[in-house]
């Protein structure tokens, strides 16, 4: 053990922002070691330096000094490893001159520096409902959740992940509702993990997901606070990660990704209708262009005579087979989407107009594609954006490409083969060990009240059974609605 920690620290950190200062108070030399980029300077000057410099007490040893400083959690330490770790987390190390073998660790880290204070859920927008989203700070996120659920049963279990990043993560669940099995699975996977830097929750999501050979997201990631609250209250376990505005939640099913919080904010009839529209959107998005390829390559007999005319007319000058025509347009749309999401907002709006309208029209006029295909492709692109969770909408957009190729090979049979393959794949997937496409298979008729449609709140008083919650009942149904008609009573 090095007895002169002051010197040892100097040798360990060659970084430019590592500062060692010495001041004289009442004839004593005080040495400070800290990372100037990490500490809160205001706190350093107001709460630390000013108290030490203006005090009249004798400073003989570390305990005197400790009593002087009005900050909690001051530790006396002589362990070099612990000191250097604390310093890299934003502590300051204080030593009195001749005693170089120990010192005080004062935590004055500035964790808010450079972080935004709020997030407007712009990526998962809903017209109705709260628009507060998670931010990059774990404490803020826990605060947001805790404010919305006033119960001591809400448990945050903190861990550290990442050998370099030492990212703080918090497993959140509600005691007495969430099945401990899920918490254990999640905790075990996190503890077994070896990763250097956790940049974002999506990295953790991929690392702890049950199966990585799949395009489907196996855990839900969202920036909406209300969505995580809903997951928690339904018996799921969530994961908050410092530095990421996206929280992860699981176990989920395929159908969880098509639920938007807005479904619950609208009357159930409208909510159900919009949800069905979303399912229709998925179908159009996956099948639209591949059906076009299949029909025009092989099964033109399926189209009635009256409809065949316009299609032939619009395609009469197109020199390519349907496959090339479709690929050309689909890839254009993908390029537009990719460019749009990489460019600054203002540029991307202009680009959308240029790309979407000008390119599309020009392509038709140049007889590179047919008008009808242009409609189908833009419709299916539009439909894919109705999926509320971005990761799932990416998956859905991706799935059409294998289907297009299969359709160009085997027509309708190819599409069917592709769909069967997807179905088989979905049946083999698991989310935190739970099957991915309940309530369809395994069949759970009770969960259907909130799957394809969002039934009224009187029918959804029970939690989803696929999460295996410890208590199934959420609330009791109130029967105080005034639905009586005059007819019986008049």
């Amino acid at each position: 053990m090095n007895s002169n920690i002051h010197k040892a620290l100097r040798e360990i950190s060659k970084s430019g922002d590592f500062v060692q200062k010495t001041i004289t108070v009442q004839g004593k030399l005080l040495h400070f070691s800290y990372y100037t980029s990490l500490i809160n300077h205001e706190q350093f000057h107001h709460d630390l330096l000013s108290f030490i410099q203006t005090s009249n007490c004798e400073i003989e040893n570390l305990d005197d000094l400790k009593a002087l400083i009005p900050i909690e959690g001051i530790k006396v330490s002589s362990d070099l490893k612990q000191i250097s770790l604390s310093l890299t987390k934003g502590s300051i190390f204080l030593q009195i001159d001749p005693h170089f073998n120990e010192g005080l660790l004062v935590d004055i880290a500035d964790l808010q520096l450079g972080l935004r204070k709020n997030n407007n859920t712009e990526n998962e927008y809903s017209v109705i409902g709260p628009k507060v989203g998670f931010v990059e700070n774990l404490d803020t996120n826990m605060n947001l959740l805790r404010k919305g659920m006033i119960t001591e049963k809400l448990i945050f279990e903190e861990h550290t992940v990442g050998s370099v990043s030492k990212t703080r993560i918090a497993i959140a669940y509600i005691e007495g509702i969430t099945n401990p099995q899920h918490v254990n699975t999640l905790r075990q996977r996190l503890l077994d993990l070896d990763v250097d830097v956790v940049f974002d929750s999506s990295i953790l999501e991929q690392l702890i997901a049950d199966n990585s050979k799949t395009p489907f997201p196996l855990l839900l990631s969202t920036e909406r606070v209300d969505r995580i609250k809903y997951s928690l209250i339904n018996g799921e376990v969530s994961l908050l990660i410092d530095g990421s505005p996206y929280a992860i939640s699981g176990p989920v099913t395929l159908f969880s990704f098509l639920i938007s919080p807005e479904d619950y904010y609208l009357p159930w009839i409208l909510g159900s209708f919009f949800r069905l529209i979303r399912y229709f959107g998925v179908a159009v998005s996956i099948l639209g262009t591949s059906a076009y390829v299949a029909v025009l390559t092989f099964h033109y007999r399926v189209i009635p005579m009256d409809l065949l005319g316009p299609i032939i007319e619009s395609r009469i000058n197109v020199p390519f087979p349907p496959l090339l025509e479709v690929l050309f347009l689909e890839i254009t749309i993908e390029l537009l989407r990719e460019a749009g999401s990489r460019l600054p907002t203002k540029v991307s709006q202009t680009l959308g107009i240029v790309g979407g309208i000008v390119l599309g029209q020009a392509a038709v006029q140049a007889a590179l594609t047919s008008n009808i295909l242009l409609i189908i492709v833009s419709l299916s692109a539009l439909a894919s954006f109705t999926t509320p969770i971005y990761k799932m909408s990416n998956t859905i957009r991706f799935l059409r490409f294998p289907l297009i190729f299969l359709a160009s090979l085997w027509g309708g049979l190819g599409i069917m083969l592709g769909l069967m393959f997807i179905l088989g794949h979905l049946m083999r997937l698991k989310s935190l060990g739970m099957p991915y496409i309940v309530p369809l298979f395994p069949f759970r008729h009770k969960d259907f009240s909130d799957s394809f449609i969002r039934s009224s709140f009187s029918l959804t008083s029970k939690r989803f059974s696929f999460t295996r919650p410890l208590s199934i009942k959420r609330y009791s149904v109130q029967k105080n609605k005034d639905t009586s008609d005059d007819y019986d009573n008049e």
Binding site: F298, P304, W410, G412, L413, M420, L423, R428, F441
Partner: protein, 364 residues
């Protein structure tokens, strides 16, 4: 000797409905109507119904034999015939199930070649199906049950399209009722018996059901549903076709769907054939799974090893049937084989089982 299936591999007992119902659906796209009409004429639907009802007895036997405690036919063979004989008999079943899946497989490829892609090579179609089958079977029995579940549910709506042939059909074609002798009806039943088969795989996957004895009703309901479906289909076919034409029609059901027309779709039989893939895949997969299961239980061969081998054999065997005549002969053979398996072999082992059980009780 008892090989208990772990609970996390089992399926809830009511899924036996889908497992049976799906394998019974395959016969819908076949020439059973033309076979049954040869002997029973306009009374064909009675034969079809009788046949369906008679199978309840077989299902009852299977449940009696295999229940208390749940076991599969391999265990049963061993207790009845001793280890060596029993195992040999079980291995024969591998061949039986293989032939069944080969039949379903080849007939569907034929339908595709005749109706949709006349120029496509058999090997190409067969190869892509084989990949598909491998993916499903290697997923395990629960995945297969899922495929059966969807394979039953999604094509089920097709029954409503019978409205179109009914609208065109003539009820007079069914008259006079019951002017055939009982023997003729039975003969007709026998010739079309293959449509209901699919219950023999129950002999292998029985221990995979949770509480199988209590859920026997679902097997019977599945059979009921099948009987209902086939009877309705036969009635509609008889109404739609005249008997002379029907005798020479290879796929009467497809012929009937041909007339369905909407404002945005004509030639509905394409959709029908493609959707039928959902029925065909599970019906091929389950016998294949049974083959690998028997091999695992009898020869302790790992399914991962036996499955590619079986599928390769399936591919080669499917390529050998390249003419309608061959398939015809094969079909006749299959019908005979399955008929005797269901109506002779299962009652046979049932009787032996009952006698043995009686003797066992007396000895105690």
């Amino acid at each position: 000797m008892q090989n208990q299936v772990k609970e996390n591999y089992t399926i809830s007992g009511f899924f036996v409905f889908f497992l049976i119902a799906v394998s019974q659906k395959t016969g819908i796209v076949s020439n059973f109507q033309s076979l049954v009409v040869r002997d029973a004429g306009q009374d064909a639907w009675i034969s079809v119904m009788l046949l369906g009802l008679s199978l309840h007895l077989i299902i009852w036997m299977v449940y009696k034999m295999l229940g208390y405690p749940a076991k599969d036919v391999i265990d049963l063979h061993r207790t009845i015939f001793g280890n060596f004989m029993g195992n040999s008999l079980s291995l024969l079943l591998v061949g039986y199930f293989f032939i069944i899946s080969l039949f379903v497989f080849r007939t569907y490829i034929e339908i595709i070649q005749v109706w949709v892609f006349p120029t496509t090579q058999t090997w190409a179609l067969a190869a892509i199906f084989i990949c598909m089958i491998y993916y499903f079977v290697s997923g395990g029995f629960r995945v297969l049950t899922g495929v059966c579940f969807f394979g039953f549910l999604i094509p089920s709506f097709l029954i409503f399209f019978l409205y179109f042939p009914i609208r065109q059909g003539d009820l007079q074609n069914l008259m006079p009722v019951l002017n055939h002798s009982f023997l003729d009806l039975l003969k007709a039943s026998k010739s079309s018996s293959f449509i209901y088969f699919g219950i023999e795989t129950l002999l292998i996957y029985f221990p995979f059901l949770k509480l199988p004895e209590k859920t026997a009703k679902w097997a019977h309901i599945a059979l009921h549903y099948g009987t209902f479906e086939y009877t309705v289909l036969t009635v509609v076919t008889l109404m739609y076709f005249c008997q002379g034409l029907l005798k020479h029609t290879l796929w009467p059901s497809l012929g009937m769907t041909k007339i369905i027309e909407f404002t945005f779709i004509t030639r509905f039989e394409y959709i029908f054939i493609f959707l039928w893939l959902m029925v065909i895949i599970p019906t091929i997969c389950i016998p294949i799974w049974c083959c690998t299961r028997i091999m695992k239980r009898v020869a302790t061969l790992k399914p991962r090893l036996s499955l590619p081998f079986i599928l390769a054999t399936l591919l080669i065997a499917a390529l050998m049937f390249n003419e309608r005549m061959n398939i015809d002969v094969f079909e006749k053979f299959i019908i005979e084989m399955r008929f005797y398996f269901i109506y002779a072999y299962i009652p046979f082992i049932f009787i032996i089982y009952v006698i043995r059980a009686k003797i066992g009780i007396n000895r105690k």
